[in-house]
Amino acid sequence: MRGPDFKKTLIFLFVLLLASQSSASETLQVLMGEKKLGIPLLSIAGCQYLPLDQVNKVTGGRCQNLSGNRIQVLIGSIPFILKDGSARVIWGKEGKTFSFPPLFLNSGWAIPFDLFSFFLQRKFGDRVWWDKEGRCVRVGQVDYSIRHLRHGSYTDHTRVVLELVRPLVYTWREEKDRVCLRLERGFLPPTIKEIPVRDGMVTGIKIRQGPDFGELELFGLSPNREVKIFALKSPDRVVVDLYKRGGEADKKELHSPASEEKGEVPAAAPQGSKVRLVIDPGHGGKDSGAVGPSGLKEKDVVLDIGLRLRDLVEKTLGMEVIMTRTDDTFIPLRDRATIANTAKGDFFVSIHANASLHGRAEGFETFFLSHEASDSEARESAIRENEVIDLEGLNRRSAENLKIILWDMAQNEYINQSSRLAEIIQNELDKIQKVENRGIKTAPFYVLMGAAMPAVLVEVAFINNPEGERSLSAEAYRQSLCEALFQAISEFKGYFEKEMGMLDGQDRADQGRALEKVKN
């Protein structure tokens, strides 16, 4: 038994093994405008699967069986090819690896949760919302005309920006300590939440959805203020600027609002809320990591790349960089995630150099966490370790359940973003490397397990083959690896900032409040 036969048998055994554990227990509610659809969730090996025929009812997908245990799912005009037992889904010349493979079960095809989420986004684009409070997915018809709310605190002013899908008519009124901005035909998506600002200028931002308008209330304003409200194009947005009266404000008036806004990259992170990158150079101290044939140590190579990357990112991207180590010290794995979580990192890149058993392997690959992280046991300990959620006042049992649901949802989101980051890194490394692109992979890596943020582990090269060791010992090569990683981080930063608004990015830290609502 070799090749496909062998694999088929393995998959068969695997499915058999899983079949005993699988059970249809929960239902995912999908709201399509007025229509409501319940999709049964199958829990197979700790991963949540959905029956493909039910998914098709949401996405309008049409199926056609192909040879070799494959199936084509036509969504819109794009044919996606799924293969039984293979986590890679292919369409045209593109492909994407998901956390778990689609499976052909007795009852038909089942697809993993993240593939479902991907299909939804292909089909509905921006019109998909994960409604945590309602525990359902909203797709399609609902026309949210407001896209995103962001704010930035600067030394002399606070800016609040409401991004719109199209231009909207707005009015505003100013009271003693508040400003209310009303947008006619403004519909707020559930992803826009109230934000605490507390920067001395504004205490916080409240939102309100009226029957045919959306309202934004900036409250707790300093009486000593000057308010400027104006609309801008591409993208359509309404900007509220609050200046301290006197002092700096007078100077600022010299700038026209438009020119000032122009200098801003869309959704750029203003001071005070810089995107935070955590760089984790692998191993260190007594742990040398892998060692090359002439003695080059992984710990030294990856520290050098990590430090170079930090300098480049800080200097050029204006991001805040947190290093898990900056010298040759031993940092236990459990402390690395803690460092990242305590610093409230936005994403995590662990840098490693690989070693193979036969000492001849070449190439580079990037790992992200497999779905094993949402295994009950792993999940429980991840929740314990992170305590992302504040659960005051709930009874223990429902608190546990809610923790698990929210952790799962957060993990699902992190897994999507991690896989994206991994893909970007592989693409960038591919541009500068002559050796094999080994692709993106999943693995239950310790250091990725506890990080409450998108996290990847990149193996930049193999250190235990003579050629790889020679390359890694050259400064120019390490610099080029660092530049490729820098390009990837730069690209992901843009994607991440956009995603923060579209999905549940920024309320990660605010899950306590989401629970507050569930409770009431």
């Binding site: 038994m1 062998f6 694999k7 393995l10 998959i11 055994l13 695997f14 058999l16 093994l17 554990q21 090996a45 700790g46 293969k83 037992g85 293979s86 986590a87 890679r88 493979p101 692998g282 191993h283 742990d287 040398s288 990591g289 892998a290 060692v291 992984e298 236990p332 794995l333 459990r334 490693h352 150099a353 690989n354 070693a355 193979s356 058993l357 036969h358 001849r360 392997a361 790992f367 094993e372 295994d375 046991e377 792993a378 300990s381 692709g439 992979k441 999943t442 693995a443 239950p444 890596f445 310790y446 250091v447 397990m449 582990l457 193996e459 193999f462 250190i463 235990n464």
Partner: protein, 201 residues
């Protein structure tokens, strides 16, 4: 009444059924061999007795699939090996792991460091196999995430794919839980077998 016995002793019944099937096949093969021999002139086989077909030296064996590293790729590949049928699953699982430690007989590569010893193996009621190794498994590991993934999953998959009672595998060193072998794969919890470590799909 019979129903009840069937249900409670399900495992044993199945086992004995498998045994009897294996036995039947063996008997079949043997009798065919004997039949073939009988066609030869009888004079050349003076001592043959037609009764007592199974000689006592013929032990009952089963084959296990051991997972080693491919010599060229970073992937696991199986090697089939015969082990004695012991009756007790944990005993057979122990033998399978010891064969894994001995290394491959073909051109495949060993995944576990030389000097590694199996200290203990037991299976709990939830289908988790706890496999306790000597410290060499961790201390002599060459490092690198690929080498580590192969070491870990050669153990996990060898156990999970050969013994259907084993659903997950927890690797221990010197009787204690460990974080990792070489700084990557999380071993704090039992692991499930993987189907995607067998080369690219």
């Amino acid at each position: 009444m019979t129903d009840k016995i069937e249900r409670t002793k399900d495992g044993h019944l199945k086992k004995s059924r498998i045994k009897s099937i294996v036995l039947l096949i063996l008997v079949g093969i043997l009798s065919m061999v004997l039949l073939y021999q009988f066609r030869k002139p009888v004079s050349s086989r003076p001592g043959l007795q037609p009764s007592g077909l199974i000689p006592p030296s013929l032990e009952q064996k089963r084959s296990v699939r051991l997972f080693f590293s491919s010599p060229t790729e970073d992937a696991l590949q199986e090697e089939v090996r015969e082990i004695k049928l012991a009756g007790a699953i944990d005993q057979e699982a122990r033998v399978a792991v010891m064969e894994l430690i001995k290394g491959p007989r073909s051109d495949l590569l060993s995944t576990l460091p030389a000097g590694t010893q199996l200290r203990q193996l037991y299976i709990d009621g939830r289908g988790i196999a706890y496999v306790d190794f000597s410290a060499e498994l961790r201390d002599r590991h060459p490092g690198g995430s690929n080498a580590e993934l192969l070491a870990v999953y050669s153990i996990v998959d060898t156990l999970a794919y050969n013994f259907e009672q084993i659903k997950r595998v927890q690797i221990l060193v010197d009787g204690s839980e460990i974080d990792t072998l070489a700084g990557h794969v999380d071993l704090r919890r039992p692991l499930k077998p993987r189907i995607d470590i067998y080369g690219a799909s």
